[in-house]
């Protein structure tokens, strides 16, 4: 950290938590989040498509084997949870799991590496881990909320959905309470979904930054290693939880109470 002498630890931390932002007020775009997540998603699509295009029922290659393991794993989860015919939930869950996992994985890349490289190109702020941006997690959770509403209609029909909203859990007589409860319930889903992922990854990234900012260089290495190894578990688990809860929420929406 050659510039560490000229900046305090607080400056260092704040700098690391800044986004590369373009725009004003609400219409601000975090270019780093969008770009990194898009590139990672593209990578996911590219490799999985590569395997899918050459998919063979004969002996699969290494890439196909890996992809099949992932597909089988996700498919089993979906089939265990969702009781009905769907061509959509499997791909959805696979996309969530792989994409979130890859974005979380950016957390394991040394905290200074990507911001430094981008710094060479004149980018002042760069956050390499997209899942530490609440906008990303909330954006995904909103999409999931949209799907929950869609599957409510699909599973119960318009009338059934309305009846469900109005009469649960206290019966028709307490309709306003039911509606209010339902609103809270459905809004809590995407918020808890997004906050959980964001919180975990933000905290994880913060610990890496703290290790890098506050400890002498000879002590950063072992502690960083321990936290990174632990984090391998966390990023996988968080990706799995996000996927699993999305499936569960949509399944709940599809089936009547």
């Amino acid at each position: 950290m050659s510039s560490a002498e000229t900046m305090t630890s607080t400056d260092y931390i704040v700098h690391h938590l800044g986004n590369w932002a373009v725009g004003d007020g609400f219409w601000t775009f975090h270019v780093d989040t969008l770009a990194v997540s898009f590139i990672l998603g593209l990578g996911f699509c590219f490799f999985f498509r590569l395997a899918a295009r050459k998919a063979t029922a004969d002996t699969p290659g290494k890439l196909q084997s890996f992809v099949e393991v992932m597909v089988k794993f996700v498919d089993d989860q979906v089939k265990d949870t969702f009781h009905g015919q769907t061509k959509f939930l499997g791909p959805l869950a696979l996309t969530i799991f792989m994409w979130v996992f890859l974005m979380n994985f950016m957390d394991l890349i040394p905290v200074d590496l990507i911001p430094r490289i981008m710094g060479l190109f004149g980018v002042e702020y760069f956050r390499a881990v997209p899942t530490t941006d609440v906008n990303l997690t909330l954006g995904m959770a909103m999409t999931v909320l949209g799907l929950i509403i869609f599957y409510n209609f699909k599973g119960k029909g318009g009338v059934g959905f309305l009846k469900d909203v109005c009469s649960h859990p206290f019966g028709m007589k307490l309709m306003p309470v039911n509606i209010a409860l339902r609103l809270v319930e459905d809004l809590a889903k995407p918020i808890s979904l997004s906050m959980r992922l964001f919180g975990n990854l933000y905290a994880g990234e913060l610990i890496f930054i703290l290790i890098a900012a506050l400890l002498p260089w000879y002590f950063q290495w072992p502690l960083g290693a321990v936290w990174a190894i632990f984090h391998i578990l966390v990023i996988t688990l968080q990706a799995f939880i996000f996927m699993m809860l999305s499936i569960v929420y949509i399944s709940m929406a599809y089936e009547s109470h």
Binding site: A21, G23, G25, F26, W27, T28, F29, H30, T33, L34, S37, F38, G41, F44, C45, F48, R49, A51, A52, R53, A55, T56, A57, D58, P60, Q64, V67, E68, V71, K72, D75, K87, F88, G90, P91, L92, L94, T95, W99, D133, V134, N135, L136, L138, G139, M140, M142, T143
Partner: protein, 156 residues
């Protein structure tokens, strides 16, 4: 934690990736897996079928083998019987032949003995005559003596 329009960008990107996965990734992989499952199931079924056929074939082979062995034994027995018969016939034939040969040989021997006896007899007569002539030194009635001697020889 500032919430801004990145949200929408992210939601759109998410949607695109889901669509891509659903359209281009998921179906071929699942198809390939299903196909392989079917292939494996078929293979196992075929293996089972083959096993069954093999067992049946083995049973058939066993039956066929025992039948053949049975037949072979029969043939051997028949051959032995026939061989015995042939040998017996040959023995009978040989015995007959031997007896016939023996009889012929005896007949010839008797003939020869008889011939020898004839010759011997003649020779004895002439020898006796000669010796008697020398003994008596006299000429005797040749016809009378010969008759006498023939009678003597005939008694031999």
């Amino acid at each position: 934690m500032d919430i801004n329009a990145t949200l929408f960008g992210q939601a759109i990107t998410f949607g695109i990736f889901i669509w891509f996965t659903m359209k281009f990734v998921w179906p071929p992989i699942v198809q390939a897996m299903q196909d392989r499952e079917r292939t494996i199931a078929d293979g196992l079924e075929a293996a089972k079928q083959g096993q069954k056929q093999l067992e049946q074939a083995q049973v058939e082979v066993h039956a066929e083998l025992s039948k053949a062995r049975h037949k072979a034994t029969e043939i051997v027995e028949m051959a032995q019987k026939r061989g015995d018969e042939v040998i017996k016939e040959a023995q009978v034939k040989a015995v007959d032949e031997g007896q016939r040969l023996l009889a012929a040989a005896q007949a010839r021997m008797e003939q020869e003995i008889e011939a020898a006896r004839q010759t011997l007899r003649a020779e004895v007569v002439s020898m006796a005559m000669a010796s008697a002539e020398k003994l008596l030194q006299t000429s005797m009635d040749d016809a009378k003596h010969r008759e006498l001697l023939d009678r003597v020889v005939g008694e031999l």
